[in-house]
Amino acid sequence: MPLYYDDDQTMLADTAGQFMAEEGSIKNQLRHWRDRDCKDGFGHGLWQQFAEMGFTGILVDEDDGGLGMGQVEANIVLEEIGRNLTPSPFLSSSVLAATALKHGSNDVKGRWLPSLLSGEKVYGVAIDEGRKHRPETIACKAEKSGNGFKLSGKKDFVVYGASSEMIVVAARTSGSDSDRDGVTLFAVPQDAAGMSHDSVRLVDSSMASHITFDGVELDGDAVIGEVDGGREVLDAMLVAGRVGSAAEGVGVARGAMDMTVDYLRQRKQFGKVIGEFQALQHRASHLYSEVEIARAVTIKAAQLVDGGSEKADLMASVAKAKVAKVAGLAVREGVQMHGGIGMTDEYDIGLYMKRDRALQEFLGDQYYHTGRVAELSGY
């Protein structure tokens, strides 16, 4: 498969690009909700529009009412989300939770998919425990209790958790904390007794929850996939989420770079446009080169996911690590090249820096994924 978009994908990119630039713009969404101190951190109206465009079900099989598309298509939407800093539950709901639900029974799908597809509800995922992403270790416990389970423990960095109608929770049903086996995924409804959210605003104005499960009673049909066999589904979620967040990072990097290069073409000092200075030109050109490479490896990783390749896991980490490095460079260079104005809240470049910071942490930062590349390569 060639590493560029086919006609349908190009059309989707045009549609999503135009939609996000208009409806999902920084002014209409990020600033709008932030300046009103919105407790959701995103707009439900826009989520409805996502549903009308079909985006909410982009990864959901056609038989289940979705578009039945792949990671490449989800990434196309995510890149535009990143470019416009559109606050959206798309990554959590339509990529991560949707990937989990794909592995659920028909009952599970029937219960949760319709209101995801309709844009009525959003879903979250609870994977991390502690400050860093370490999904190899899962301590949060679900013990057998009658016909169901009793869930206890803590989860962190549950993005848009407090606004989520349902949260996919990775919990331990057997074995010790760092065992690969013995993990089970649960669909935990928002109103479950014993679940409490400590919802906090993050640097990028999004919201994330620390969640405490205090003996939360779940019946057997809350299980997604097999009891004790959740690791494979979790792995699929992680690969999709990492490649997806890489795509959003590419969008952030491109958005910041485009804005900065525009600024270099306009800002005048010493009687000339600062883009004439070679010191800045070379840095901008280096950035361009890195962003192109980050984008290429992200498309590659998405294609490998869609092809079910055994290399998808490795390339997901490569993409996540590379994009993190490059998007970090893009936002730092962006703020620096904007000079003083780059430090003001009024200018958007700082918003890119904030979003990048949050995205870096999501599902593993560049250090985690770089280390993972070494491990998967055998050293």
Partner: protein, 394 residues
């Protein structure tokens, strides 16, 4: 061509390679003479090299994508990719390497007359003539267009005087494709892309000893060299129009940059696992750097693939080879720095048998030229600024 046709071609190719590529030609390249460069004075290192070359030559596989009339096999891009893949799968060495294949050939295919193509392309494909490239001059490196080697018009011939530098393998080459100024008043439109015999009277070459201890480049001197304007009917001595050689040169630089970039994955693969195996105890900080490198290398590999895919369908930005050259050569330099670091004192050995005559250190030094030859990294960044980012005054 349908997928099933392509699969049939793959099966056929695999069988052909099995029958024609000797086991010795599937070993990694260790020495310079493991590669056959062709030319009037060429000798084969062994029978295997000879039979592999001749089999490919007769099949058109020294230049598989060139038309059959010009010595190629007329393969479609998809077929050529299959052949590359199948050759890579058995680690087959290239049957013939030359600047004729990489550089002059593409220029002739694009700008040459039918007569030039018939003669020169066939000679290249059959490994009969080895070419060298006369571009840089002592005073014209990054600012190539300032070149001063001059060809004085004498009616039916030119008389060429001047000096070239960094002429790769000029001392071994039979012919040269050379940028010669033919109009002193016109900077860009005063250069002619000339072809002439290195055996002509007045041509002299002198190898340049590099920090690697090798001499792949020469200084080349032209002292009243008589270059006929024509080599026969429809075979002019210049490619493109007289005084319009800069267009050809720019086109070729794109090719050269693409080649040096390693976009085909040639010299930018991962190293962490191999170095850890070979050198045992790896310092954790070095391990981290190796992992960072591998991330960049794998990402660049995807970029190379994307770039080649886009080139094929004309989707790549015309200045993208500059970006590829910049990123690829910087990556390769870093790669060799890390190989030296992981290799420790072993990698310092300059003449030992263990290191095949100082391979690690000589290769490390050689890579320093990657970001200089074919346009420096700094020039690449200038070009990206101007042609891709559209920054003013670049």
């Amino acid at each position: 061509m349908s997928d099933s046709d392509l699969e049939a071609f793959r099966a056929e190719t695999r069988a052909w390679l099995e029958a024609n590529c000797p086991p010795e030609m599937r070993e990694p390249v260790r020495d310079e003479d493991d590669i056959y460069w062709g030319g009037r004075n060429a000798t084969f290192k062994n029978d295997a090299q000879k039979s592999w070359f001749e089999a490919c030559r007769d099949k058109g596989y020294t230049v598989p994508a060139w038309p059959k009339d010009y010595g190629g096999a007329g393969l479609s891009p998809a077929q050529a990719k299959v052949l590359r893949e199948e050759m890579a799968a058995i680690n087959a060495r290239p049957p013939l390497s030359s600047f004729g294949i990489w550089m002059l050939g593409p220029a002739l295919l694009h700008f040459g007359t039918e007569g030039q193509k018939q003669r020169f392309l066939n000679e290249i494909a059959r490994g009969e003539i080895r070419w060298c490239q006369g571009y840089s001059e002592p005073g014209s490196g990054s600012d190539l267009v300032s070149l001063q080697t001059f060809g004085e018009d004498k009616g039916d011939h030119w008389v060429v005087n001047g000096q070239k530098i960094w002429t790769s393998y000029a001392d071994k080459a039979d012919w040269i494709f050379c940028l010669v100024r033919t109009d002193k008043e016109n900077k860009y439109q005063g250069i002619t892309f000339m072809l002439y015999d290195m055996a002509s009277e007045g041509v002299a070459t002198k190898p340049i000893l590099l920090i690697s201890g090798n001499s792949p480049f020469c200084e080349t001197f032209f002292d009243d060299v008589k270059v006929p304007k024509s080599y026969g009917e429809d075979v002019p001595a210049q490619v493109g129009e007289v005084n319009r050689g800069w267009d050809v040169a720019k086109y070729l630089l794109g090719h050269e940059r693409e080649m040096i970039s390693g976009a085909d994955g040639g010299n930018t693969g991962t190293i962490g696992a191999a170095l850890a195996r070979a050198n045992g105890d790896i310092d954790p900080v070095l391990r981290a750097e190796l992992a960072q490198f591998d991330v960049d290398a794998l990402a660049y590999g995807a970029m190379g693939e994307k770039f080649l895919d886009e080139i094929k369908v004309g989707k790549a930005h015309p200045a993208q080879p500059n970006m590829m050259k910049y990123a690829g050569t910087e990556l390769n330099k870093r790669r060799h720095e890390l190989m030296m670091a992981a290799g420790g004192s072993h990698a310092l050995e300059w003449e030992s048998e263990e290191t095949s005559g100082g391979k690690p250190s000589r290769n490390w030094l050689r890579t320093k030229a990657n970001s200089i030859e074919g346009g420096t990294s700094e020039v690449m960044l200038n070009v990206i600024s101007k042609r891709i980012l559209d920054l003013p005054g670049a």
